[in-house]
Amino acid sequence: MTWRLASSDRGEGPYIWRFSPLDRVLHAMVIISFFGLVITGTPLLFSHTGWARVLIRLVGGFQAAAVIHRICAVITFAYFFTYVAHLTYRVIRSSDKKGFFWGPNSMVPQPKDFRDSIQNFKWFFGKGPRPRFDRFNYMDKLDYWGEFWGVVVIGGSGLILWFPEFFALLFPGWIFNVATIIHGIEALLAAGVIFTIHFFNANLRPEKFPIDIVMFTGRATLEYLKKEHPLEHERLVREGRLEERLAPAPSRAAYLWSVVLGLVALVLGIMLIALILWAIMQWNA
């Protein structure tokens, strides 16, 4: 196999499944809604900048931005509750309940994740080999729990700001000030983490540059699995379950669309984070 732009499709085949159709649909919803939220929300936080004034008019003024922001919030709640419901269903139906909360297929942080992160820092300084990851490494878990935490915190504070008159029946008015502070700063944290750290870990780091489309096509080559998730590969071979995970190669159209849309999202996200950093510098100046 020749060199491909998408790191998930480089090297020796065959393809191996990594993400389910539901995972991919939910991730697509995250992308769409998160861009919608950031584009319509950051102009408020950085209202002092020229780009904020341009951006808010590009989306049709602040009233339109407010509507788009709420539509994207509804999409966010939709994927969040769909995911939680599906997870609950899977936990209830599964014969291996322990596997959800512990072990290589679980998203729960475990001692190995801390050991891996320490090992990674050693590798950064040339003091040891790279850590060898299983199915989910500690950076994947950061993204996962960051998403969870972010939706709860930003979504919760956002609901308070969406329905102030209702929440004023229960709480004193200063909770709107607190909700504004939490909503804004947590949103910056989410944008900061997704547009730099998630982008780097999942796409831009030298091993994967410029893009990894496994989250779009749901599958990656065997070579990718061996490099990125060597322990998972060894485990699947040992347990004789690699066969179960064999996948057909993605169609040419699926590959191209994934690469194009992924690159668009990457560029858009980097532009947004650049604007945010620029605005913060203007703040301090």
Binding site: S47, H48, F125, L142, G173, N177, I181, I185, L189, F200
Partner: protein, 423 residues
């Protein structure tokens, strides 16, 4: 009207002489176009001398005698060619004195100096200011003033000094402003025109303490028409109180008077969003910190983005009746807050109004409820982003070290091969 009142004593004095319809005599020649055309050299001169009774009778000067102004023509014919006209202030004493004290009379008189006829037209066609034909009729005033104040030659000759900047732009700006639009577009003759603010005869520059448009008099000048606003402003607002006593802010600013918010010649309707946005920033000239904390709220952010929909200063504090929160008459007095907020938020209750409209999360003393969440969230932001940002940057170091070692190993391998060793 002023013209008539001013002229009354003069007219009374002249009444005694008005026995003979002397105009009839003058009319023999000056009401005869053919005769005049034969007697003088140019048609222009003939037209100027043609003053038929039919025109004159209709004017303000219809019942005074020709010789009252053209004194010296009384005895015999043919009369002398040129005899000076009696000055207008002979009868119009007050107007003359006012004009003489005005900016229009300053300096040496030149051809362009706006004297009586400059504004009122020839004495033979002077009409009452309430007469539609008069250049001093409200609908005609701006155009009349504009003959100089919108004339390129006059402007470039006389109005180039920095202090005359207003004189250059006032008339074109007036046509665009709310008063000018009311007059020219809505045809509303009660709308203010030039002389309503600047006076008709005693026109003085704004920096003259006597001027009707001087800071110290502007409130009463505007209040001539805007009686209700003047009452509100003067009788209780914090700005009105400071204006009355000429008190200055800590920064040394004078209390805001009408023109500070509404401007002199560019005033627009109060619902114009662009103007409204500018106003909030003007409030910030003195109320800096309140403006900055306002910008931290949704109200302020939307305003800052250039939209006029969310609450601006005057929406909560009222436009003219702004009072301190300790004043029971204030819109932001604690007991009035529910009503004030409910103007936009119909469901506002006691809890709702505990919102800090000017809360400052950086002020630990006054807003601990905002400070601690702010500090917590900011620490989280800086901590997480900083740590994993560093993690990403260090990744390059890991890759670089790996590559250098691999290259060194490859070179070492080649060296070993050449030396005949085993790889």
């Amino acid at each position: 009207m002023l013209l008539i009142l001013g002229a009354l004593p003069g007219i009374a004095a002249l009444a005694a002489y008005a026995q003979v319809p002397e105009a009839v005599v003058c009319q023999k020649c000056h009401g005869n176009r053919e005769f005049l055309a034969r007697r003088v050299s140019t048609p222009q001169r003939a037209a100027a001398l043609y003053v038929p009774d039919s025109i004159l009778r209709d004017t303000q000067h219809g019942d005074i005698r020709c010789t009252d102004c053209h004194a010296g023509y009384g005895a015999g014919y043919p009369h002398q060619a040129e005899v000076p006209v009696v000055p207008c202030q002979t009868c119009h004493e007050q107007e003359g004195a006012d004009w003489a004290a005005s900016i229009h009379a300053v300096g040496e008189a030149v051809e362009d100096t706006p004297t009586c006829v400059g504004c009122h037209g020839s004495a033979h066609t002077v009409y009452d200011a309430e007469d539609r034909r008069s250049p001093t009729y409200p609908l005609n005033v701006a155009a009349m003033c504009g003959r100089c104040h919108a004339d390129a030659r006059i402007i470039s000759t006389y109005f180039m000094a920095p202090e005359a900047a207003q004189a250059r732009v006032a008339v074109p700006q007036y046509y665009q402003n709310v008063h000018g639009a009311a007059l020219t577009r809505a045809g509303l003759v009660i709308s203010a025109t030039c002389n309503d603010c600047h006076r008709a005869h005693r026109v003085l520059p704004g920096d003259s303490s006597e001027s009707s448009v001087n800071r110290s008099h502007i409130a009463s000048t505007c209040g001539t028409c805007h009686v209700g606003v003047l009452e509100t402003y003067e009788e209780g607002s914090a700005h009105g109180a400071a204006y009355r006593t000429a008190r200055r802010s800590v920064e040394g600013y004078e209390a805001p008077a009408c023109v500070d918010c509404h401007s002199a010649h560019q005033m627009v309707r109060a619902d114009d969003p662009e103007w409204f946005l500018g106003i909030s920033q003007k409030c910030a000239t003195c109320h800096r910190h309140l403006w900055e904390t306002y910008l931290g709220t949704y109200h302020g952010q939307v305003t800052d983005l250039g939209f006029g929909v969310t609450a601006k200063c005057s929406d909560c504090h009222t436009p003219h009746n702004m009072r301190p929160a300790s004043d029971p008459g204030s819109s932001v007095y604690p007991l009035n807050l529910v009503a004030t907020c409910a103007r936009c938020h119909p469901g506002a209750n006691e809890n709702f109004v505990k919102y800090y409209t000017h809360g400052d999360p950086h002020d630990r003393e006054r807003y601990p409820l905002l400070f601690w969440p702010w500090l917590l969230m900011t620490s989280l932001l800086v901590g997480v982003w900083g740590f994993f940002g560093m993690h990403s940057l260090l990744w390059f170091s890991g890759v670089a070290i790996e590559r250098v070692r691999r290259r060194a190993r490859t070179r070492g391998d080649r060296h070993d091969t050449r030396a005949g060793g085993t790889p």
